[in-house]
Symmetry: D3
Subunit: 276 residues, 6 copies
């Protein structure tokens, strides 16, 4: 309605490099530091995959959230040419600690981790930090960390501080992904160890396919509190989901949908436009 005065635009956009030949080309891990220096001449954006290492029901893979976040991130990187850091595979999963194999960072620890990642990147001149997240439990703490990082960047007088912006992009909440999951699974999508995320892992890691088996009806989705409460409420780790519905080809399709949606979101973020 009201015109936004472009004269006071706080920070003009930074262009995306454009599609890469393959995902190797955008992995920060495979770059040298002079290459990153060169990259920063053209683009101030970077993608950080954030996952979790936690139970995903009686058949799902403990690495689901990190595997999926990294896969989506690499595909978004490939489509846009934006660099992708390695994944932070451990997130905030305190409520899943009642199940063997779950590894959790306390909220205060994850806050420090995300803070330090952002500050390191901002020091080099990165101004748009796009975190692709695979786990709902990371959302709150990551957002808190962004606020802490803005303050630190300013307190330390980093040159990039006034232009530093972080965005959390949860691939599993992208509209096309949620719509497709509803089409495929209806109410049996559930809230944790969902067939959609499991499908993605079946596509990425074929060795997981053999674990699929029919399961008892799950406990219905509900609130999340502490680990003891979670285990009592959701005895096998699922929240209303039927992961047996998942199929690898669903995963391939969901990956493409997520990557397309988040690529669009990233380009708007780099251009300083709002999400649709």
């Amino acid at each position: 309605m009201h015109a936004h005065p472009t004269a006071s635009d706080p920070a003009p956009g930074t262009p995306a490099p454009g599609p890469a030949a393959n995902s190797d080309a955008i992995r920060l891990q495979l770059r040298s530091w002079p290459e990153v220096d060169g990259y920063l001449q053209g683009c101030k954006g970077v993608i950080v995959p954030l996952g979790s290492t936690e139970q995903h029901g009686p058949t799902g893979a403990i690495g689901t959230d990190a595997l999926t976040a990294e896969a989506v991130a690499l595909e978004v990187g490939r489509r846009t040419g934006v660099l992708v850091t390695p994944a932070q595979a451990f997130g905030m999963a305190e409520h899943h600690l009642g199940f063997a194999g779950t590894i959790s960072l306390q909220p205060s620890t994850l806050l420090a981790v995300m803070h330090d990642l952002v500050l390191s990147l901002a020091r080099h001149g990165f101004e748009r930090i796009f975190v692709i997240n695979g786990h709902g439990g990371n959302i709150a703490t990551s957002k808190a960390a962004f606020a802490q990082a803005y303050a630190s960047a300013s307190a330390r007088g980093l040159a990039a501080a006034p232009r530093l912006r972080c965005r959390l992009a949860n691939w599993f909440m992208a509209a096309p992904v949620m719509q497709k999951a509803r089409e495929l699974y209806g109410d049996r999508e559930g809230q944790h160890a969902t067939p959609s995320e499991i499908a993605l892992t079946l596509h990425l890691e074929p060795s997981l396919i053999s674990k699929q088996r029919p399961l008892e009806p799950p406990a219905p989705a509900g609130p999340i509190h502490g680990p003891e409460d979670f285990r009592l409420r959701y005895p096998d780790g699922r929240m209303g989901s039927d992961p047996f519905l998942a199929q690898p080809d669903h995963g391939a399709e969901l990956l493409a949908l997520a990557a397309a949606a988040l690529s669009d979101d990233l380009l708007r973020f780099l251009a300083d436009e709002e999400a649709g």
Copy 2:
């Protein structure tokens, strides 16, 4: 769909005491410790109002978020008989620090505050902590704090730990409140220094009415990053809102709607039912 086996119900509900004669009757500040001991025989629930102290545009009151959260909390307490602690009037408002008078706790500090409040209450046997929040910037950190508190309660071996549950209730996001705001203000509700929250303050603090005056069109609502970015993007502090539309009687109506919606939510929380 799937029956939830009641036998394994992790924690049976705790009843609400029922309507109080007036709000004095449910203010923890006006209770003695033996009275609280007695209260806990019947009800394990408690309400914690959480606000912020931050700019609310060129005419809005800096105390808006604490004043409104406390007013809603007292009215919810009056309707349900559940005790209300004093308000935590300082919240996470780092992004507003570019405007004079804003006082902010860093995310790591607010995390510690909310953690300590929950732990203190859990030590006495409170099992349902219902935080009525007046500020969007508190949401992420409060949720992170709840996860940290569950872990600490368990690590310290508190008797209430397995049954401890926290819920964050943002009065301004209650469905009837948002619907009414849309009816009253349409797109001019905006995202910060909104006419709905300002209306509530006009109802609570009549001295504020004289400050109301027509304002320039606001900057449109958009993302929130650091304080420098916020000030450039939203030069007078408003995000797409027209607080001049606010009127005291709107505030009275919004307060009633918020209190009704959150009272229902609280009763479901105490009864361990899900939100509608």
Copy 3:
């Protein structure tokens, strides 16, 4: 004795605005940010009420320390025209956690809270932070926080850092207050849940009057250690006090005495003069 070379005076005083029409006029919560900007043109001082939420004996109100600190602060603000922030109602009350309803911030948490409050205010240009405190247990931690805040303000390069000064003013330790309490209650004033503070709450909150009743002789005042020790030593929460002696009119008188004494202290603080 020795002349203090005025040439090297580190920071000239800042004038107080002068008496306000009423306490609404000096509540930061009711100001807008441009009003605070304007205020800072004339005065760099601000008052922060600090309380606690803790047991006050078998009949006293749990909110005593926050209610009284806020009341004194508002009256000091009214007399001097200096802005008053909302109260921090939760303080360091670890030793009272053995009694239901007590809510405590750990020392490290309160240290962070007071640090962040001071830093937020200093960022805007406030140079004299006058904390009006209602609870002995807050004293040590608040003073530690001031030292931490001075260091942070300097490390962050805040413009106000070299002139930043904080003072802790404990209303219950003001000389005229202590003298009046001795006149009224003699040895039965005690050390916690004292008739003087209870009298102030009776004046402020008439609903409390009906709780007054004769009590058993209290445990004598003594040292304060951990919560278990405290409860054993002071079984009903009182330390040598007889709160049944309190009367509302005493409270009115004590409030006036405290406000007068602390107003004088505040004016000297703003003028950079020493306490008498």
Copy 4:
């Protein structure tokens, strides 16, 4: 010399499961929680790969330390059957922050991360945490974290606390690896961005081979202090190394040597025998 009284043996060994068919079989990320429960019936050991994301000279990959640590860990897991968690790809690299692309956790953050990982695992009953590390800068902080973790496990009363043991295994410091590096590269191995670690990355990521090119003589190896000092002392990031000597087949050989040496070390660790 002196007989060690076996009667007081603090914790008997835990057997290794034995070689796995492939590395998928030992990736925690691909396991479900019931599978981990079952695993713990037979073995209490787990491998945690720890890397870093930091400059490795003008041609080396920024991900070198995480890529190599994870590769060695997976091969050790395959040979012994011990589960491997996902890699913590971000480590303590403060001294490399003068070079673009480096991402560092502060020591206090990495301490918290490693603490939380160990505590999560100990909660499930893991008693032998074998951290395979690819970065010298992580050593000090990791060891500090182990001490902190032992104390927390005990303070929280974890059942596994008395038997909890962590070991840091730095693959690049294994005797056969160092001997082979000396044979291959002599003095030109250097201290950072060494041909041995670069060779491993060439073996793992063939896309890196094309980056190899002859380089100027490096600055000689020396001490490590802060980032400014590091960049002045080692202008292109290398410490006395000539990574152009690296070849993929060297990497394959070094990987095998490292995996063999660390597998032996792990088996001794599980059996509670001392390192040779």
Copy 5:
């Protein structure tokens, strides 16, 4: 007045061992662990000297506060037979950091140090921690640390937790010391770099005597804020004091007075009697 019911006495006293032959006999540093085990059979008390390392005016020794605290502690130990730990020579001296040679722990750091010292001692069964302090700047933080330590001892379930008590004894504030200082120096005692503490150092370290020289009149004593403010207010580091008045024999006398007063205080503390 009111009888204190001895039946509910929370913790009966612990006897002091009685005078030691010399100070070596009570230095914890010179004991073996079985000797400490034996000591704890008879006495649960321990003395911790706490100093600071900070400027003491143009002629005073930077180590004044640690040297004096340790000397008093050893003499109290000798007189009572209570063990004395080594001194914590670094304290909270942020305000003195404007003068070369001052070394300060931030308040949050000193809080952690004192917390950890108390927790270590409580773990072994020490129940009465008597901290002999030589520096006013340590008082607030030490008291905050005691509260934090009580809470941790309880949260960790230490056997000694319910009986754990800490007391801060500031030797320079003992009544006989202050009286003697007034007799000797009158108003020229001042507040920092006082002749009384300097006298003690002249007695302990004869090499300091040659530094004594007449000084300009000092800046008058006043408030303490941040380091810049302190240096402007007190340009040579003194607060109203004339350390040239100090003489070694004064120091010997003051040491004896301090040791006598604090020995009495310690014995009352061990016997769970109140200070006079």
Copy 6:
């Protein structure tokens, strides 16, 4: 091999003042602040002794690590003229907490302590911090603290930040010391409560000589984990050592060897040369 371009030398050396008449002359505790100001005109180096307070077997002194570190530091100071701060007598000794009298700082606490010491010194212009350490358990945390300190010094914009360097010098690991210990004690030197460190204490504190007595064969040296594990593994606190072999004259010789070796190391550090 490769010439190091002296033109880019990041920080030229700072000269040592040269031998002092006695150790009093180099104790920071006995200096005044103007003397330190003067010292800094000529030398930017300083020595910090770091010890521990922990069990040293059934006959060894609990203060061994602090007594020896301080003695070596004072002798190095005397030989080089470099200032010596007071000792930090409490270190990281979590694993010894199973033995009475041990006092430990948690790793996170010691990290903060060492960080604050370095930052305080750097603020005054000290650029070479030489920590003489007497305890293996301090090594990891001290090195982590150095990295944290470099980052803070830079973030705070300290003038000395780019030239700030810390070195940890463990006297007991100096080559001539280890060689002499092997000559004197062979395999019976062991790893903790070693005859070499005990010999040094016998030389420093003759009252300890009478405690020497023949002991049972010790548990063999092995790994170090948590306190329960340590006590089970090393029931009397020794790790493979026979402290009865220690003699005072050995201690005198070891002290001289340590001081000579560390003096050389310090001079190279000040001159920015590498260790041999």
